[in-house]
Subunit: 304 residues, 4 copies
């Protein structure tokens, strides 16, 4: 299949939605990103690649980094991880900002902020050099050594990060995190600040799609079963309170970030990344969801 | 593949869990069911069948009936259905019994009780003979004319059904349901009271697995895309507040009932039904989940 | 003191607020009441009386009847009452309509709807002729035999009473009420439908103000201490989620009703009733609160 | 009246409860206080005094300090204060630790922690030397210059104060507090760390009881009406989720602290302070509440 052509057709078809939504602007670094950018890249397990528009422009992957953190935590802790964090979807954001995310100190799943802060704490405890080790893992699964943190983004996030600080304090109060709050938050915001392009993201996520291949990167190893279960969690929890909607429309496991990126996986077939900064009211890229909905419809590639 | 042998092996392997959990006993009809029964049946889209133990014993399908109701509502209302009911998972049962299930009158998804009561109201409004029409649809997709309601179960449910009556009143207060509350509740409990065997259930659910086949039963028609989207909803919402856990362990869309039945689907491959009355604390069959976890592990048939 | 003059001055002073707020219109009987009426009456324990404007016009006392129900329940159950209903204020109406009012089946206080439904159930169990006995008690403490229920109001309330029916079902589910739901709701709505004038209400509430006088009406007896404690509950719970505001502005225990009536007590001094149908957003009479605020300011009669 | 004799009789009568409850031990400084101490002191507006047992032993007044903060904030902000903090009781602690205390950034009342942190922020903004100015106000209304902070207590509270830090971050996120979080929390914990004896507390609170006397201390001035309204807030919000119970049993406005102190006021009559470290499950002194219940019963001095 001509994947470049496929993606170009999709891009054409969704152009009417190009001005919908609003890019994140809660920190200056995100506010100044040109909102009218769009990139998309697909990697199949057979080595095929399609890449269009700004597929090589790096952007702030934000919450997509939580998938990398989950892979590392699962490798380190195994199923003990689930004593500190749940794996149930968080449902419609009812009135939860802080409290409901943390029941008796246990966040509902690893992809809400509370859960990701717990993962940051676990990695901070187990990794000798947390910042370097996390980055090396990302380098190895993406095959791209030049990927790095954006420290200015991380600093800005911390400055405005009162809500995440509230969550971290609540987790500390419940005894769920063990390290110093500032250390954990700093590491958490650093992970979120990583910048990658659609090409790099889709290549990195191909390792989750291709769960029959040995998973061993920078010392992080997962069994085929563990990779499949990670995909299950992306399916049920990957899109905040829009997980059901995304599952309904797109039918693939995936993960979105507030920077406008979305990654999705068709197990044993492909990984795809799309990026466009304008977000819907639930914090997911408008063009990104449209593009993926069309991709699975066109290629009949929903997992259902 | 010898599916009888496969299921028998699975049954042997999970026997150690045979006494775990507790059967539902909130109405006398469920309380008097022998809790030590087990049945399992699989139908593949290629016509293969495996059936063991009490695969032909009928039991109260309870919430599994909500999938049939959803098929009918989607056929009748199309995407307008989602104005009256959401499609997001309900998350961990936080302290919701009534209120949190219904936000501004809109239940979170069609498989929680509030959502199913809304579906009962829709069907009650649109079907000429709701009770007969619903049963005829079940007859046609299962190919078994002798399936029927258990009126005594429905009556007992209504007698003890204060919580569902509270939900129905709340929905009426919000204007989400339009018919008389007692009529809606009676129809709702009748649907839940249907009795089917594992063989009948897995045959009926094969139509959801085989979404490439034309869906047209008793006048209820769905497109391939609609069937796939129903599967997506089963994946994210089919197991109450254990949807994430089931997705993680089993990796298939499905639906459970408090009578001890579970149905699951491997799209374009098979449908499987399992029944064992003892439930875990979240209301799902202990042996049922174990059997399905083993089935997908053995056959490598998770959708992820 | 010339109480007529005092009340007239107050009325003059609050006239600028006469058009603020909106009368209850959720049932036709309340909707058709002329909203521009105002009545006020004060009775002191020394036999003084002041009465102005429509002080003798009867109106629907609605939730004010809950104080009468509480007197009867306290007489019948003593402190056992507090096993079935709490005495803590309900706080700001957070998102509670149903669920939060009833924690584990125990309503927070006797003056929220859930608490009053529990009291209706208790009276229904203990009184030989609930409807007659309740009315006789009201006759005796007010000294006015012609007071009666408005059955049409009670019927309309029941017809629109989905929220209260939801609450009653939830209470039944928790086992807090023992009688048939329809019987309890009918009795509850009948109590609320009683019609009294300001003069009758202030005379009836004088028995709560004058707690040194023997309390014995229609077989309902209370000690001085019990009456004082009823006043304490009126102080903390008498005004829904505006209890703190009323306490702050007026500084007297009291009870409001959605019909626009408010009764307040200055222990060992006086009882006062005021009526004006236009309500603020929290369901309390705008002119009523203004009048009482001015009364306590002018007469320096806050309990604080 | 012989107030020493009165208090002694009360003390004798409540001795059977001396071992009930458990002293606060969440910081070492509170944990090491001898839990078997008891002190009580009453000051009437006529200059009478009664004082028994450890009436002159200083203890950590903790949340009682919030009344002093409220007096200062009301003097500084007037009714503008109520834009940043509510005055409604918080009701039964439902599942609130953090979130429910702060709705859209507005704490429910000034006496819950969230409200007191907002007051600390206000004072921090308006006072030239917050720590000194607060202490000078306490010196002046108590007439005792030697009262001071216990910095070790304040430091320990901050070290363990993850919950309060979560609240402060949430308030900052909502924009309700304007100063640096650490500055505000430090000042908040300092205010709570003040140590006073029952004699000093009852003398200080006499100024709230005697609202006809000019209120002007260290530049903090309040009108008679403002003092009465402060008393109203103590009545409805002074005892966490036991406000209704305290109002019912004791019938006086007051404020408790986790150090085991309780202060209550009988307007225009007396102020009373009692101290005993063992707390009930709601964080109020067991002996303290018993003593005050008996005091108001014996002296017929409930405000109702």
């Amino acid at each position: 299949m001509d994947y470049n052509k496929l993606l170009e057709n999709i891009h054409q078809a969704i152009l009417p939605y190009a001005q919908e939504g609003k890019a994140a602007d809660y920190i200056p670094e995100l506010a100044k990103v040109d909102p009218d950018q769009f990139g998309m890249c697909i990697h199949t397990i057979y080595g095929e690649v399609g890449a269009i528009e700004q597929a090589d422009t790096r952007f702030s992957i934000q919450s997509i980094s939580k998938v990398f953190a989950l892979a590392m935590c699962l490798s380190i802790e195994g199923d003990n991880l689930w004593k500190k964090v749940g794996k149930e979807p968080s449902g419609t954001a009812f009135n939860s900002l802080v409290q409901l995310e943390v029941e008796h100190g246990i966040p509902r799943n690893p992809f809400i902020n509370a859960g990701a802060i717990v993962m940051a704490d676990i990695l901070y405890s187990h990794l000798e050099h947390p910042h370097e080790d996390f980055l090396r893992f990302v380098h190895e699964i993406s095959g791209e050594e030049s990927i790095c943190y954006n420290k200015q983004v991380a600093l800005s996030e911390r400055e405005k990060g009162y809500l995440n600080a509230a969550i971290a304090n609540l987790l500390k109060y419940h005894g769920t995190i063990e390290n110093d709050i500032e250390d954990v938050l700093h590491f958490y915001f650093m992970m979120c600040s990583i910048e990658m392009s659609c090409r790099e993201l889709s290549k990195a996520f191909l390792v989750f799609a291709n769960h029959r291949k040995k998973f061993d990167y920078a010392g992080i190893t997962l069994t085929s079963s563990q990779v499949k279960r990670m995909n299950a969690i992306m399916q049920t929890c990957g899109f905040y309170d829009e997980a059901g909607e995304f599952s309904y429309l797109v039918g693939l496991p995936g993960k979105s970030g507030v920077g406008g990126g979305i990654v999705a996986i068709y197990p044993l077939q492909y990984a795809v990344a799309v990026w466009s900064p304008r977000l819907n009211s639930r914090g997911n890229s408008v063009m990104g969801i449209k593009a993926l909905e069309l991709l699975t419809t066109e290629t009949q590639s929903s997992i259902f």
